[in-house]
Amino acid sequence: MQPFIQIQQLKHAYPLESGGQIMALRDVDLTIEPGEFVALVGPNGSGKSTLARHFNGLLLPTAGQVWVDGLLTSDPKHLWAVRQRVGMVFQNPDNQLVASTVEEDVAFGPENQAIPPDEIRRRVDEALRVVGLTDYRTHPPQMLSGGQKQLVAIAGALAARPSCIVFDEPTSMLDPPGRRQILETIEQLNTRGGITIVLITQSMGEAAIARRVLAMHAGRIAMDGPPEEILEQEERLRALGLGLPPAVEIAHRLRDKGIPLPPGLLTVKALVRALC
């Protein structure tokens, strides 16, 4: 099978006012297969968002190559095909909503792609059904809760029928019920919809729901593996400015007290099962 995203020797530099430049990405090599669920973690300024913006051609490499579904992103004639395949959902839902009703907002993307009206109708209805907002389709987005607004943004991304959605800290502005709603939706898009997911997060607990964790540091991928493996490595994570998920931290402290526990306990449920 052809990898969904393939990146070779990617570098990205941002220019500075003074005329110099900051290297945000230095030599990233990465392959993501279709249907993967990848969490991207790393300290502020480590290059997570810069990397993710290469996945749909929002940013183009300063050096190196990015292929999405076999299409080279730096080739201008692929740009729309790449954007159609990879959707983005950002942190602040208020900055992403553009229309006066939920369904118009969801229809905004497809309308701009000159898709016929009845096809748009079908896509909007389906996207709203997937995120559970069918009953809200005529509501103004401003009147929705933070979690619901974020679901509208996800529906907007879905209406383009992408193969992959990149979520850039989608829950950091949400309250706990809103967070749960979004994380459950993301998991379902992956398991039921087969959509490739890249989830950028500052929450190590959230990273635990992915099936692969990439930890970035200073523009490079410093760690790459399944969460049970990566999220146990206290010293390495701390050295990167990260930490353990709260459940893993408790497991480590319990082991320090002499209570024997197996590795890979990422949730309260897993801890309770191991203790009882």
């Binding site: 300024g45 979690g147 949400l174 309250d175 706990p176 319990l254 209570i259 309770v272």
Partner: protein, 288 residues
């Protein structure tokens, strides 16, 4: 400073079809040096309440008194009180407008009429407090910063005013784990040194548990609980009703209790929960 909130009502867009009551009769008192967490779902009124504490909104009914003076009044005395309160908003990009990081952080102190050397000292101190290297950062253009860096700059510009009451609305959202730990530890240390009043809004109750001693729970514009942090943050019924999750150590202890373990559940921090579990484990191991 003594903060008194007296029967505060706030209605957005009153008299229109979009009228929405954000606060419906909130009363509370916060004394000097207290560390208070304000929690509740999105839309529960937290952000409206803290904007009132900073005197930024005019109440629909009721009032806020800062050391006895009505906070939103258009008088010199009220203005002087408001200056003692620093509020860092949830969306830092909304409050940043200067050309360089230095000028951004210096803006408030300059408005206080301080001398250049004092301003420079404060900017330096405030940037260090939020974990930014002053030499590296001060000439940067705010809009070239990452989300996490921008958040830190916005907070530094509030700290540089040296407020007596510091209100932080989701201060650590978007910061990396190490950054969150460091920031809260430094603010806590400064609080102890200066007897600052610290008011924190956060959905992250694990984090809140390390900092505050008192928790006010808001629901639909009303105070639904107000008490010691240990009590409020271990009350799963109360927190679930308010749409919040208990801190993870509390959730673990609750689950163990349900499984028949004899453990207390009001242990908010990982190290406290671990001590409780180790003790219960030791106790049960002595039995057959």
């Amino acid at each position: 400073m003594l903060i008194r909130v007296e029967n505060l009502v706030h209605i957005y867009a009153p008299g229109t079809p979009l009228a929405r009551a954000a606060l419906r009769g909130v009363s509370l008192e916060i004394g000097p040096g207290e560390r208070v967490g304000i929690v509740g779902r999105t839309g529960s009124g937290k952000s409206t309440l803290v904007q009132h504490l900073a005197g930024l909104l005019e109440p629909t009914a009721g009032r806020i008194r800062l050391d006895g003076i009505v906070a939103h009044a258009r008088t010199a005395a009220a203005r002087a009180q408001r200056r003692r309160v620093g509020l860092a908003f949830q969306y830092p990009e909304d409050q940043i407008f200067e050309q360089t990081v230095f000028r951004e952080v210096a803006f408030g102190p300059r408005n206080l009429g301080l001398e250049d050397t004092e301003i420079a000292t404060r900017v330096h101190w405030a940037l260090e407090m939020v974990g930014l290297n002053p030499a590296e950062m001060q000439e940067r253009v705010p809009f070239s910063l990452s989300g996490g860096e921008m958040r830190r700059v916005a907070l530094a510009s509030i700290l540089a005013m040296r407020p007596e009451v510091l209100i932080l609305d989701e201060p650590t959202a978007g910061l990396d784990p190490q950054g969150r730990r460091d920031l809260l530890a430094r603010i806590r240390a400064w609080q102890q040194e200066t007897n600052l009043t610290l008011i924190l809004i956060s959905h992250n109750l694990d984090e809140l548990a390390r900092v505050v001693e008192r928790v006010v729970v808001l629901g639909k514009g009303e105070v639904i609980a107000d008490g010691p942090a240990r009590q409020a943050l271990s009350d799963s019924e109360l927190l679930h009703a308010a749409g919040l999750d208990v801190p993870l150590p509390v959730a673990l202890l609750h689950a163990l209790q349900e499984a028949g373990w004899k453990v207390r559940t009001d242990r908010l921090l990982p190290e406290e929960a671990v001590a409780e579990i180790a003790q219960a484990r030791g106790f049960s191991e002595k039995r057959p």
